[in-house]
Amino acid sequence: MSCSRFIRILADFQQGKLLSEEQMAADAHLAHCPACRRLVEIAQGRIDILPESGRDELTRSILDRTSGPSCPRAESSLWEFAGGELSAGDSQMIALHLDHCSACRAIAGDFDEIQRVLPEIAGFEPDGLFTRDVLCATSGAKIPDSKFVIPDENLSIGSQKSRFGNRIQTAWHRIVQRPCFSLEAAYVGTLVLLVAFSPFLPIRKTVFDRIPAAASQPSTYLLSTWSNTQSPISDGLCKFALALGTRDQAIADSLSRLVTCYERPSGSTLSRRAQRISEWRRREAGILATFLMRLKFW
C-alpha cells in the first residue's frame, strides 16, 4: 500500500471500518512507514505539531472568519463568572476563554475586586449633627447654624455690621439665583432703554431730530445756533460733546472754555472782550466741528 492510498483510507482506519484485507495492508504499511505512523498519531491527538505561540492566532483567525470574536459574549458573563453565579458549563467555557484572552482576564480580575469593594461603599455615616438637623427640620424647630456657631452676646458692633452685610449679600444672592431673574432683568433693562432712548418721546424727538443736521454740516449749524445763546439745543450739544470729549484732553479743555464763555455776560462795556469771545467762538466752533466730524465717522 502506498502512502497516498493510506491517507485516503485514514478516516476509515481510525474508525475501524476497513475490511480485513485493507486493514492488514494498512497495518503492514504502517509497520515500515514512519511518516504515516506519525500521521496516525497526529490524527489520534497523541502528537501536537501546532506550536504554542501559534494556537491563539489560529483560533482568532478562525473566529474572525466564522462567528467573530468571542470577547463581547465573554464580557457579558464575566460579572456572573466572578461572582460564581454561572452554571458549571458556562464557567468552564469562560475559564477556557480567559486562559487565552488577557484583556478579558484583566476585566475578570477587576470585577472580582469591584464585587468585593462596592458593597463596602454603599453607605457613609454623615457627621454627628446630621441627625439633629434632620429632626429639627422635620419637627419645624429652628435649626441652629452648625457651621458658624457664634454666641450673640459676644458679637461686637463690627461683627453685627458684617452679619447685616452678610444677610444683605445672602438676600441678593437668593434674588439673583432665582430662575426668573434673567427674564426680569431683561424686562427692566428693555423698559429703561425704551424710556431713555425712545424716539417717540417729545423731548427726545426734538433733540434727536436736530443731531443729524448738526452732524452733516457741523460748522454751519453750530455757528448759526451758537449765535443764539437762548437756544437750548446749542447748550445741549455743547455739554454732550463735552461729555464725549473727555477722552481728548485738548478738546475737553477747549470745550470747557467755550462753555465758560457762554456763561459770561457780554455787553457794550466789554466790547473788546466781546470781540475776543466772538473769535474764540469761531475757533472753538472749528474744533468742535472737527470733533463732531469724528463722531460722525465712528
Binding site: 477587576d110 469591584i114 458593597p119 454603599a122 434632620v134 429632626l135 422635620t138
Partner: protein, 190 residues
C-alpha cells in the same frame, strides 16, 4: 424593631421612631447622594432634603417591602433636581480656595474615609470618572443592590435596556479601574 412597626409608629407621630428610622437609613441615603453629586457638603444637604420629603410623604408611602426603593427614588429625584439646578444656574461667584475649608461640612469627607483603604479609594475614583448614566446604574444595581426590575421601574426604561446598560457600566468601571491602576503604577515608577 422591624421596619413595618417602625413605619407605623412614625406615621402615628412617634418622634423616637422617626429618629430611629433616620439613623437606620441615613448612611445609605447620604451614600447615594454622595455618589450622585460627588461632593460631601451637597450630599449632606441633599440627604437632609430627602429625609424631609420622606417625612412629609410618610403617611402615603409604600409598605416595608418597597420602602427602600421608595426612599432611593426620593433621594435620586432630589439629586437630579439639584444637578439640574446646578447645570442651569452655576454658582454666581467663585469661592476662594481658603473659604472652602471653612465652608466644608463638619463631618469627615467620604473620600477621606477611603484614604486608609487603597482599594476603596481606587474604586471610588473610578466611579467618579464614569459617565453619569453608567455610574447611576452601578450605584443602583451593584452598590445599593436593587434588582433589574426595580431599576427599570425607577428609571422608566425597559428591562432589556437596564440589563445591557448594566453590563456596559460594569465594563466601563473595570476599564477605568485598570486605567487608574496603570496610571498609579506609572506614577510610582516615575
Amino acid at each position: 424593631m422591624d421596619l413595618s412597626t417602625l413605619l407605623e409608629r412614625c406615621c402615628s407621630g412617634d418622634e423616637l421612631a422617626w429618629e430611629a428610622l433616620v439613623r437606620q437609613f441615613q448612611a445609605r441615603i447620604y451614600g447615594i447622594a454622595y455618589h450622585y453629586v460627588g461632593n460631601a457638603e451637597d450630599a449632606r444637604d441633599l440627604a437632609q432634603e430627602a429625609f424631609i420629603r420622606i417625612y412629609q410623604n410618610l403617611a402615603t408611602g409604600p409598605d416595608e417591602e418597597r420602602f427602600l426603593l421608595w426612599i432611593i427614588t426620593i433621594t435620586r429625584n432630589a439629586c437630579i433636581d439639584h444637578l439640574r439646578r446646578k447645570k442651569t444656574r452655576p454658582p454666581a461667584h467663585d469661592i476662594a480656595a481658603g473659604d472652602l475649608l471653612t465652608l466644608r461640612a463638619p463631618g469627615a469627607d467620604p473620600s477621606q474615609q477611603y484614604a486608609a483603604d487603597s482599594r476603596k479609594r481606587l474604586v471610588h475614583c473610578a466611579l467618579q470618572q464614569m459617565t453619569d448614566l453608567n455610574r447611576e446604574i452601578i450605584v443602583l444595581r451593584d452598590i445599593q443592590g436593587l434588582t433589574l426590575e426595580e431599576i427599570a421601574s425607577l428609571l422608566c426604561v425597559p428591562l432589556g435596556t437596564v440589563k445591557s446598560r448594566s453590563n456596559r457600566a460594569r465594563i466601563e468601571l473595570a476599564h477605568k479601574l485598570a486605567f487608574l491602576r496603570s496610571e498609579l503604577a506609572g506614577g510610582a515608577v516615575s
